[in-house]
């Protein structure tokens, strides 16, 4: 049988998957037709295709919870017990909000948010980096010194999305939900929002970061780190490969996630491979995904794409990353540590990642926080608007 795999490609993920699937094709006689597309296509077109009934059989997706009504339950076709052992932590992300025990997708890569630091800048400024366990305030202090010492325009940049913002907010004590219902604006949230707006006002965070984005649009801050505008970038594990390949004129490293009164918050995430109900080949699709999820395959994928694996067995046993540079492997371990810390100290991170309307919130928060930063709204109004907008967007 033939199945169509809509795969969004960031770096080389689909190439690796294709390589892997050829083994499966040879052994089963089935064919996988890869459509390697840009991220925009999966983000913007897939859901419409699903609705119109013209969707692919299998796809690599990031909006894990948002599409759960379309997923094919793999339970009948796979060894459910094995899946629970290996991927128990990420399976809920794909499930419908209440009482669902289905197996829907293979978490191909686990990502964790965390900061990158420009080591050369710290060196040049003669500032010692805060140690593991330092708080965001400690880092802010250190960055202020670096900024003034080197005459930088800013110290810290963060991608413009609530996904990045959530980690520090957890650290400041934001809970984000109560019994599965989003309660965004609480004291912790407010505290971090105030701090965050303050960082922009004082210039610790750059004008071309959040304030330069319009509406709910995502904005990557990596260019600011790459070009040396800032000394720290709050990003995530997915950026390792890019930074390793493209940064040649300064040293950088991944540092442990800073903490706060609420713990050491980082957001997990990542992309997964799912099959859709509409497929005509459920068994074949399921077997394909099952094949990919095997420890050996998952490890191969992780090491060849420089990612953290979601396979819990592999997390324990480790993966042979000997092909990647040391800095990447060091970074991977730091991120893995972050993920562990987050799981312990800020469980709301896992809830948020699994919440099926999280993508709406990702956009709403930056929209209003930006308005507070640029002074279009007072912070209080902005926070009230966040609550109101989220309530309206998740209402049915």
């Amino acid at each position: 049988a033939e199945i169509k795999f809509l795969c969004y490609q960031d770096a080389n993920e689909c190439d690796v998957l294709e390589e892997m699937s050829s083994v499966w094709e040879n052994s089963t006689g089935n064919t996988v037709n890869f459509e390697k597309v840009g991220y925009d296509v999966v983000r913007d077109q897939l859901e419409n295709q699903l609705e119109a009934g013209s969707a692919p059989d299998v796809a690599r997706v990031t909006n894990l919870g948002g599409l759960n009504q379309y997923y094919l339950d793999l339970t009948p076709y796979v060894d459910a017990g094995k899946w629970e052992t290996n991927y128990g932590a990420t399976l809920p992300w794909y499930r419908k909000p209440s009482g669902d025990n289905g197996i829907y997708g293979w978490q191909a890569q686990l990502t964790v948010t965390g900061p990158y630091v420009n080591v050369t800048m710290f060196e040049d400024a003669g500032v010692d980096m805060p140690e593991e366990g330092a708080t965001w305030d400690d880092w802010a202090d250190a960055l202020r010194v670096v900024k003034s010492e080197l005459g930088l325009t800013a110290g810290l940049a963060m991608d413009r999305t609530a996904h990045r913002w959530a980690g520090p907010a957890f650290s400041y004590g934001a809970k984000f939900h109560e019994n599965g219902v989003p309660i965004l604006v609480d004291d912790g949230f407010k505290a971090f929002a105030e701090t965050f707006v303050g960082w922009h006002e004082e210039g610790l965070m750059p004008a071309e970061g959040w304030p330069a984005g319009g509406g709910t649009a995502y904005k990557n801050a990596a260019p600011l780190f790459l070009d040396g505008t800032v000394a720290m970038h709050m990003s995530g594990s997915w950026m390792l490969g890019n930074y390793d390949a493209n940064i040649t004129d300064f040293e950088w490293k991944v540092v442990p996630i800073p903490c706060g009164s609420g713990g050491c918050g980082a957001m997990p995430g990542g992309s997964g491979v799912v099959a859709f109900k509409s497929t005509k080949e459920p068994e074949v699709s399921a077997s394909f995904i099952d094949f990919l999820s095997q420890a050996g395959r998952a490890g191969y994928f992780a090491s060849n794409t420089s990612n953290i694996t979601a396979h819990q067995g592999l997390q324990k046993a480790g993966i042979d990353y000997s092909g990647v540079s040391q800095r990447v492997s060091a970074g991977l371990s730091t991120f893995a540590a972050n993920a562990g810390k987050a799981a312990e100290s800020t469980p709301q991170a896992y809830w948020f990642q699994g919440y099926n309307k999280n993508f709406a919130i990702y956009g709403i928060v930056p929209d209003y926080i930006t308005k507070a930063i640029t002074g279009e709204m007072s912070l209080d109004d902005a926070l009230a608007a966040i609550d109101a907008d989220v309530a309206a967007k998740i209402a049915e």
Partner: protein, 477 residues
């Protein structure tokens, strides 16, 4: 030349250039700059390396600074900063080499020329630590888990004690394994390419070399390290006194990589261009055919509902496709056109602008010609394609050119119709391939954008006379 001068100084019919002439030419020249500088800037940027683009390089030409290597090593003696002069360029830019180019170099032997911290720095730089460590583990029959240790989750790491194994090894091997495992006091060594600048020493009058990580043109000073004493901390040099050497370094790989599939395996420039050319040509032909048919009916016949049809067609001018995307998507899917280039071609083939323009033009074709043709026993279809179509050619050429522009630049319809069918990607969709979720390859995107401009620009250069005079002659009035 003298003709030109004469022209410039001539006033309509009279002899001397007047103020209005100077203003006119001034205005035109200013317009030229405002229009062409940005385009030129785009083209120049497209041959800048990814590195320069990341740095928001504002040089007009792709200039890079002269570089010098600076490394940081960590060890029992603490941190060391060292500067290595006169390294070969391929060493400095090892990260930028392709796999093939790397394979050509015998780095293992190369680093044997160095010793001490320089050796360690280069070893890390070339990524040899993990290779050599793995060899070490295998050759010394050390436990397997050592290889995977760095990637283990913290909870798992607790179960192993690598320090004990390191301690059992001799000096160099212990260092190697420690570096690999990331055990204290070892950290990954750093290696960076810094900018080499020099400045006259005010006392001695000699040129002194400095290494600089970043030059911010908006600041008065740069933070520099003495090449001769890198550990001595940084000095702030006045920016206007330092001497910077720059080299011209166009990055042709921006073009060659995507065109040879090296940039992205899934980016097939030839196929994208082919599809676009196909769509552009076929869609333009269909557009011309059916729009001129409709315009013919509307301009040369009297029939019931004529006005209604005309108003309907004009009304579509009011509705931007961008607000109808969802509906158009549904229709394309329902008609079975999605996933095929026909889904890009057909929905846009009927254009209100085209019908309107052609109709206005055809109104100026004398009815007598049609009557003559009818006397000549021509059928209405023959009249259409043998009389009206050729006679409306000036307007049809304009519509043709407009259609070429629209089709070539169209993003919405391809997005709707073929975004999940890679084989049917048009060039504009293909360009999106360079936008990852987290990663944008701006250098490739820029270069391919320039490539995507080539056909329209060629069309423009060769047909601009028809475009500009054509629009003038058609019934846009």
């Amino acid at each position: 030349m003298t003709d030109v001068i004469k022209f410039f100084t001539r006033r309509q019919g009279k002899k001397k250039a007047s103020l209005t002439d100077w203003i006119s030419y001034g205005f035109l020249f200013l317009g030229f700059l405002i229009i062409f500088l940005p385009v030129l800037w785009l083209v120049m940027n497209s041959v800048k390396s990814q590195f320069l683009l990341q740095k928001y390089d504002t040089n007009f030409l792709p200039m890079d600074y002269e570089r010098i290597a600076r490394a940081t090593t960590y060890g029992p003696d603490g941190k060391d900063i060292l500067i290595m002069k006169d390294l070969e360029p391929w060493v400095m830019f090892w990260k930028n080499l392709s796999d093939d180019e790397r394979a050509e170099k015998d780095v293992v032997n190369y680093i044997k020329n160095f010793s001490g911290n320089e050796y360690y720095a280069l070893r890390s730089h070339f990524g040899l630590v993990s290779v050599m460590a793995k060899d070490l583990i295998l050759s010394q029959n050390l436990p397997d888990w050592l290889i995977k240790y760095p990637s283990m989750f913290p909870s798992a790491k607790k179960e192993y004690d690598p320090q004990a194994i390191v301690d059992s090894l001799v000096d160099e091997d212990a260092r190697l394994l420690s570096e690999y495992l990331g055990l204290k006091p070892y950290k990954p060594n750093g290696f960076t390419a810094q900018i080499l600048v020099s400045m006259m020493d005010p006392q001695t009058g000699e040129l002194v070399e400095y290494s600089v990580s970043r030059i911010n043109p908006t600041k008065d000073t740069v933070n520099a390290r003495l090449v001769s004493n890198p550990k001595g901390g940084i000095t702030k040099l006045p920016q206007n006194e330092i001497i910077i050497n720059k080299n011209l370094k166009p990055s042709w790989i921006n073009y060659t990589d995507p065109l040879t599939k090296k940039a992205l395996k899934s980016f097939d420039a030839v196929r994208c261009l082919n599809n676009s050319v196909f769509v552009t040509i076929v869609a333009t032909l269909i557009t011309l055919l059916i729009n001129s048919m409709a315009a013919f009916a509307l301009s040369k016949y009297r029939f019931n509902g004529q006005v209604i049809f005309f108003v309907i067609i004009l009304a579509t001018l009011m509705v931007p496709a961008s607000v109808l995307i969802v509906g158009i998507f549904k229709m394309v899917t329902m008609t079975g056109l999605s996933g095929s280039l026909w889904g890009v071609i057909i929905p846009g083939a009927a254009t209100p602008t085209g019908v309107f323009m052609l109709r206005q033009y055809m109104l100026t074709i004398p009815d007598e010609l049609l009557e003559a043709a009818r006397m000549d026993a021509a059928s209405e279809w023959t009249i259409y394609w043998r009389i009206i179509f050729p006679l409306a050619l000036p307007a049809i050429a304009v519509l043709g050119i407009l259609s070429i522009i629209w089709r070539w630049n169209d993003l919405i319809l391809p997005m709707i119709a073929v975004s999940t069918t890679k084989a049917a990607y048009t060039i504009q969709l293909c360009l999106l391939d360079f936008n990852g979720e987290y990663l944008a390859r701006e250098h490739y995107a820029l270069a391919m954008t320039v490539v995507s401009l080539v056909p329209t620009t060629l069309v423009f250069v060769f047909l601009q006379k028809y475009i500009t005079t054509g629009i003038a002659s058609t019934g846009m009035k």
